[in-house]
Assembly symmetry: C2
């Protein structure tokens, strides 16, 4: 299995080797590692330093974990049950200082999760983010206030063998990572004209 990004110009090895597996080894994550990946998230930048992100952390075997797992759609439940840690990411819709709408709450929370992911990669861990969950189940299971949007569920753990998965997921696990060309996403002069 080689999931290393096929880069044109070369990028930092932590970014090159990051990907989102569905197979995790059945071992827990050391508390010190969790502390560091969480602290990494906290030092992310945000609009007016609002830090709109919040996280609910479940560790395999505890009630929080089971309540997060319960909220996942069946497809995700099937493989995520093997991750030692499941995290719900939340984002506050309003600025705390004046209760005005914060248009950057999701963008900023995405950055915090990316920070968490860099640190996780550095610690030898892998991260898989999910959009497939039942909003109401998660909201009710954790008494989440209305001013918070439930953004993603994030599986974290040590990577396992693709052979632990069923055939369909195994195929996805072994497939090459693909991305758009830079010419399709970086422009100059006007929208659509390649910068490259």
């Amino acid at each position: 299995m080689n999931k290393q990004a096929k880069t044109k110009y070369g990028i930092h090895s932590l970014l090159e080797n990051r990907w989102s597996p569905r197979s995790f080894r059945d071992i827990s994550i050391e508390k010190e590692k969790l502390q560091r990946i969480f602290e990494a998230a906290s030092w992310s930048p945000s609009c007016f330093n609002e830090q709109p992100w919040r996280f609910i952390v479940g560790e395999k075997g505890n009630e929080t974990y089971n309540k997060i797992l319960e909220g996942l759609v069946e497809f995700n439940k099937k493989w995520a049950v093997n991750a030692p840690v499941l995290i719900v990411s939340l984002a506050k819709k309003y600025f705390s200082k004046n209760y005005k709408e914060n248009f950057h709450f999701l963008y900023d929370t995405g950055q915090a999760v990316a920070h968490l992911t860099f640190q996780a990669s550095y610690e030898g861990l892998y991260v898989h983010q999910m959009a497939g969950f039942n909003f109401e189940t998660i909201k009710n299971n954790f008494d989440i206030p209305d001013e918070f949007y439930i953004v993603t569920v994030i599986a974290v753990g040590y990577i396992g063998s693709p052979d632990l998965l069923d055939d369909k997921l195994k195929e996805s696990e072994n497939s090459e990572r693909v991305r758009k060309e830079l010419s399709e996403i970086f422009f100059k002069e006007k929208f659509g004209l390649s910068w490259e």
Copy 2:
């Protein structure tokens, strides 16, 4: 000036030393470095691998740069004019495959910008993201299609001395970085109960 994050558990040095300056040195960025920071963004994860992010890149002296600068609010114009590179980030609102709304377009674009920032830090560059710009000016200056949301303007460059700034901005440049405690953002059992 010491802007290093005051961490409790310790995080990767590229995250620890990242911050958002307003003073930039008057030197351009090597093309190879731009290529790598852009490629880093492109390898970010996204919902269904949609890669909703797009970027318009202006380099000091060219028309694109001037058209981005024109769109900034006065407060940002004042300092951002010293950055060698200004980038507009855009995010596609719909999935390309079926034109359904993509609820993760902003979250995913935030992650791509965090990837860009991580690589920039590795290259010795600094990044400052801005929400203060005129939406219509940017939209018109670059013929941006309606299906794209204009998210942020991003200044990138080599860091300059705080003395290049006026007194008020200089104070902000020298101030300590602060963040919420982990106990305020990482929970277990229910919303608000500290994980730590």
